[in-house]
Each structure stands twice: as structure tokens, then as C-alpha cells.
Symmetry: C2
Subunit: 378 residues, 2 copies
């Protein structure tokens, strides 16, 4: 284990776990949801607001920051956390996922991936060594290894090659110099092929990583397939290390994945959907653009204790979203982030009290209610 | 005077005054700058942030709110202040200015102005009576009369007609029912014709308005012309009532107008320019898009006590603005609003200490510094 970094399981309920993740900058209870701060900002929010939601660990995107403003510049300015005035913990991804989804003209071989910036077309490269160097410059608490992430519909042989390359790259990431106190997580690939996933998990788990991530989900495959893979992998995840499901997901996905033993999540959904006027609540999704909110003096979610629900009515949020006012995007984002923290907090409490399965079942049922209203009148 | 509304002059220094404006919802020291909350939101800011800047009186636009979400809807929801969760004072404009600048196919006669909404093309009208009715529904502390505002380059005869109509409409506004406790301000027109301005001022000042506004500035004429008119009008403004210069302006414009006896201001400049990456500071305008800020760990304004200047460096603000992140617009807006309140607070202190002319001269000189850096490297 990396000095300054530790993980302890505090309670189990089936495969679901409550744990405590310690990094040099924060102590975090798991299951935890990490808000995404792509460009060194959780979109529309101040660091204070992110912290008020309950979050103490956020994610920033290596790909975006290495292109703009540049990893070396951020290092000279004191690292991402000082740059954005976020005093708590930070995880950086490897940049690999964005290279495959955003960059142009990429060319991948065993040595590296070469690509062009989607911002200015400049030629860039990421190798396992450069990836660790960039993340060391960014100064995150947790760095992710460079992996190859094939699309959700890739055939078996493509996935096999990606798995093999991801293993070789994981070894090179471990051999590369890192920043003192920066933990490293390995990534398991294997697509929807359960045998490949299990084999890759045992390879990655055999390496001295501080945590085990499951990558290559949310890349176009059906969520039912993800659940099947998670169910198969869950019992084999190494007990003593945190389990991170990358890029997932909807509130219901979190509930199910926690039941399969996942401890960490990140997803743009609560922030991105907010900017489209969609709130996530204990009663399901609420599309604030709908005319049914026009005269509604009720808060977004009567079961929510966030300051948005304590201050503003749906009629006002509807007006802001319709009028395309930035305050609308801010307030819905703030609520959504608070809701994700409240959801994982409630999950932790249910696990501690040994009633996780019932909790997840009931929460899921409640979340389908407003969805139905929404689709009736949508 | 309207019950619940009062104005008291506390100190004079030349023509510059410090006063106390009391409305049913706030006590406001003048000179005061009112942030503009066009669509029942000061763009990008929460009411808490607006109040933290020091503001206790904001402006909302009747034209925008009558079109969306509608004045009667806002009335059913408890008025603008409850709708947007702003617990302090509010002034609504008459909507006339936007009818002339935004609406399509307008047709004006002595009875009313008929126009089409710029949002959905629907046919709308404003008469003096309807204007007062809409503002009563909105529930503001201060309502403005409907006036006719000709363009800055209008000829004398056009301006004469607008002045005459504005007087007739002012009388009808006074005769119309108002909301209890809602003050009414008259508006002086007359363009750049000093004799017309003086004659109209004496007409409007003879009516029982709670305050006197100067309209028809910032409509394309040179600022030097505005200063000339203000200088001529200043000594004739009625001492016992507040003097409001509508739609003005830049920090330097405020300094000069305060010297001519103006007590109240509103302008979209601090909020609009912020959204273009331009900060207003004690050292002048700062264009945060410029590359010179790329590695600058200094705050936006070392002389500023706002939380943005206390938390973030120019390098980060530059990054946010370049990356088109909403947080950048928020933070620069927050600083700019704080700066405008700090500027009027400093002006009040200088007036109380009898050193306003020297204060205004020195502040103006300092504000030209960074402008020059900006234009050198722009």
C-alpha cells in the first residue's frame, strides 16, 4: 500500500460493504460517489458547494487538463487542488477513456497512443509512463493506470487484445515513478465476457495496486449486461481493497452495484442531466422543463434536505430552466450532487444496520414513481 | 410620499449626497448601485451571493417578466421577491425601454404601445395603466412610470414629442391604482437638449412622485454629452427626493454622476461584462481572456475583499474563462457586483468626510492603469 493511503472495511451486509478510505487529504466513507470535475471544476459549482453536498473526493480528467491548461503548468501552480481551491481529495483518471471517445486520429500500439487534441488539433501522446507523469504533475491523491477501453459492441478477439495490453500497461504504470503519497488503482477490462473479466480481475488483483477499478462499462452496452457481469465479479473482488466502478451511473445503478460489492463511483450524470433541466430525487427523475411545474410552489423533493429544496419552489426552477438562466443549471446541479451524497449515505446506514437489500428494493420502487408522471405528461 | 417609503439626505459634499432610502423591505444607503435581475435572477448569482456583495436593492425587468412567466402568475406565486427568494428590496422598470430595444413591430400612440413579444411573437400592449397594474402584480417596492425613450440620435422635434407624451403618461400612472406601499418614480426625458431636460425636470418634479429618474441615457449618445446634461440638471434636482440615473454605467460614470448629485444607479455592465470575461477592479478593467494571466497566482484585485479575490488566482479564472466554464462567469460576476458595492460604499464615506472630489479624481486615475496594460497586450 502507498504510504498515507489506506482502506478498511467497517461492515458487510451480503456483498455490500461500508469502508473507510484514507488519503493524505481526506477520510472518506464508502460507498462513495465522486462528482466529476472535468476541467478542474465541478461544472457550475464552487468547491464550497461541492463540499456542502457532503463530497470529500472528486474526479478530474487527465485528458482535458493535459490539453488545457497543461499538466506542467498546473504543477507549477501547485497542483489541481490548489489551482481550483479544492482542499479535499482528488482522483485523476488516466485519460485513456477520453482519448478513445473525444480525440481525433488516434493511433495505438503497444508502446503508446498518439492522438490529436480535440481543442486545437495538436499532436499528443499517452504512454503508461507519460500517463503516470502527467498525473504526478496534477498531484491527485489517487492515479489510475492507462488502459485500453474497447467499445461496448467489440468482438471477443478485440476485447482479448485490449485486456492483454491493459495488463502490460498496468505493469509499466507500476514500474513508473510516482508522486509521493499518490495511490494507484489498476483497471479490469474484459467487456461483457464474464470469463475474460474474471481472468483479468485475477491478473490485476495480483499486482500491488491500492484499489481495483472496473473499466469499460457505460460504453454503449445494456445496463442488464453490466449487472450480470457485476454479479459474477462481485464475490471475487479482493476484500481488503476498494472496488471502483468507473463512469456509472444512474441512482438505481448505484443501488444495484453497491449490492454487488462496489465501493466507489463517478459519473457525469448528476451534473450533465442538471444542465438539461433534469433533477434526480428520491421520487425519481423530475424534468423541470415540463409545464406541470409552472405554478408548483412545492420544492423539487420534499424528502431532500439540500439548500435548494429548502429555498426555491419548482415554479421558479421551471422558470429558470425555461428562460435558460445559469442559476437554474447551478441549482439543479447543486441538488443533484446533494442527492447522490444522500443516496450513498443512506446506503451506508442501511448496510451498517444489516438491511441493505430491503433498503435498495424500496428506494428503487420509489424512484420509479415520478418517472411515470414524467412520461405521462412529458 | 407613499406610506412605508421615505428618503432622507444625511450629508452633502458639493452636489454629491449621502442619503437613506427606506422601503417596506430594506433600508438602503445612497449612492446605491442596483444589480440587474432581468428575469427574476441576477444572472449566474444566488440571492445570497447578491446580498453578500452588499446589495439590498435590485432591479427586475417588467418587460421580460410580463412575457415570461407572466405578471399574473408571479402574483399568484407571491410576487417577484418570494418567487426568486430575494428577501430585500426590489425596483421594477416600466418595460418601456425594452419595448423600444427588443420587441418587434411596435406601434405607439397616445393611448398605448402595442408590440410583439421577442420570445414567441405574441401580441402585447403596455399603457400607463397596464404598466402600473403589471408592476403591482410583480409586487416591487418601487415602480417606474411608463415613458417614451427615443434613440440617442433623435432630432429635437422627436424628443419634444416623447417628452410631452411622457408627461401625459406620468399623470395617468399617478392616477392608476397601485399596490399598497409601492413607491412610484417619475422619469425625465429630453435627450441631449439641455433646455428640454430642464423644462421636463420641472414638470416631473412638480408631480407627487417618490423619486425622480433621468431616463434616455445610455442609448447611443457619447458619455461626454451625458456628463454635460448631468452637470446642467444636477443643481435643479429636487433636494428631498432620490435621484436615479437609469441604465448607467461604467465605474467612472458612477463616480462622475455621483458628483453631479445622482443617488441611484442600475446597469447590466458588471454582470454582462463578467460573462465576457471582463472584471472591473480598483485598478481598471481586467480582460481575463488575455494570456498574461495564464500563470498569475495573484488575485484579480489585491485591493478587493470579496471571497473570489480571497480564494482564487488569476491563472484559474483565466483557465475557467478560456474553457468556457460556468464557474468562471459566476466568479467574475460575483467579484464585479462586490466591486460596485465597494465603489459606492467608498463614495459614501468620501462624501461623509467631505473629500468626494479628491476621492473621485484619484479613483478614476487608478482605474485607467490596468486598462492601459490591457490595451498594450490585448
Amino acid at each position: 500500500m502507498t504510504p498515507g493511503f489506506s482502506y478498511e472495511v467497517l461492515a458487510k451486509d451480503g456483498l455490500a460493504r461500508v469502508g473507510r478510505l484514507t488519503t493524505p487529504r481526506a477520510v472518506i466513507e464508502t460507498p462513495v460517489f465522486m462528482p466529476v470535475g472535468t476541467q478542474a471544476t465541478v461544472k457550475t459549482q464552487t468547491p464550497d458547494e461541492v463540499a456542502e453536498s457532503g463530497a470529500r473526493l472528486i474526479l478530474a480528467n487527465t485528458y482535458h487538463l493535459m490539453l488545457r491548461p497543461g499538466a506542467e503548468l498546473i504543477e507549477r501552480l501547485g497542483g489541481v487542488q490548489r489551482f481550483m481551491a479544492w482542499p479535499h481529495a482528488l482522483l485523476t483518471d488516466s485519460g485513456g477513456y477520453q482519448v478513445f471517445s473525444l480525440a481525433k486520429l488516434r493511433k495505438i500500439d503497444d508502446e503508446r497512443v498518439v492522438f490529436r487534441s480535440h481543442i486545437d488539433g495538436s499532436k499528443q501522446e499517452l504512454s503508461p509512463e507519460r500517463c503516470m507523469q502527467v498525473q504526478a504533475s496534477l498531484g491527485s491523491d489517487i492515479a489510475m493506470v492507462l488502459d485500453e477501453c474497447p467499445p461496448g459492441n467489440a468482438d471477443r478477439s478485440t476485447v482479448e487484445q485490449a485486456v492483454a495490453r491493459t495488463t502490460r500497461w498496468a505493469e509499466r504504470c507500476l514500474a513508473a515513478p510516482t508522486r509521493e503519497g499518490q495511490a494507484r488503482f489498476g483497471i479490469v477490462q474484459g467487456g461483457s465476457f464474464i470469463d475474460l473479466r474474471l481472468a483479468h480481475l485475477s491478473e490485476i488483483a495480483a499486482m500491488p495496486f491500492d484499489g481495483i477499478a472496473l473499466g469499460g462499462f457505460s460504453v454503449g452496452e445494456a445496463m442488464d449486461v453490466t449487472y450480470q457481469v457485476l454479479k459474477a465479479l462481485g464475490p471475487h473482488l479482493p476484500r481488503e481493497r476498494p472496488h471502483y466502478l468507473m463512469g456509472v451511473g444512474k441512482p438505481i445503478d448505484l443501488l444495484r452495484a453497491i449490492g454487488a460489492g462496489i465501493d466507489m463511483f463517478d459519473c457525469v450524470l448528476p451534473t450533465r442531466n442538471a444542465r438539461n433541466g433534469q433533477a434526480l430525487t428520491w421520487g425519481g427523475r423530475v424534468n423541470l422543463k415540463q409545464a406541470r411545474h409552472r405554478e408548483d410552489l412545492a420544492p423539487l423533493d420534499t424528502a431532500c434536505e439540500c439548500s435548494v429544496c429548502g429555498t426555491y419552489c419548482r415554479a421558479y426552477l421551471h422558470h429558470l430552466v425555461r428562460a435558460k438562466e445559469i442559476l437554474g443549471l447551478r441549482l439543479v446541479t447543486q441538488h443533484n450532487l446533494f442527492f447522490y451524497q444522500a443516496l450513498t449515505r443512506a446506503a451506508r446506514n442501511a448496510i451498517l444496520e444489516g438491511r441493505y437489500a430491503a433498503f435498495a428494493r424500496e428506494a428503487e420502487a420509489r424512484m420509479l414513481q415520478e418517472d411515470e408522471i414524467g412520461s405521462e405528461q412529458g
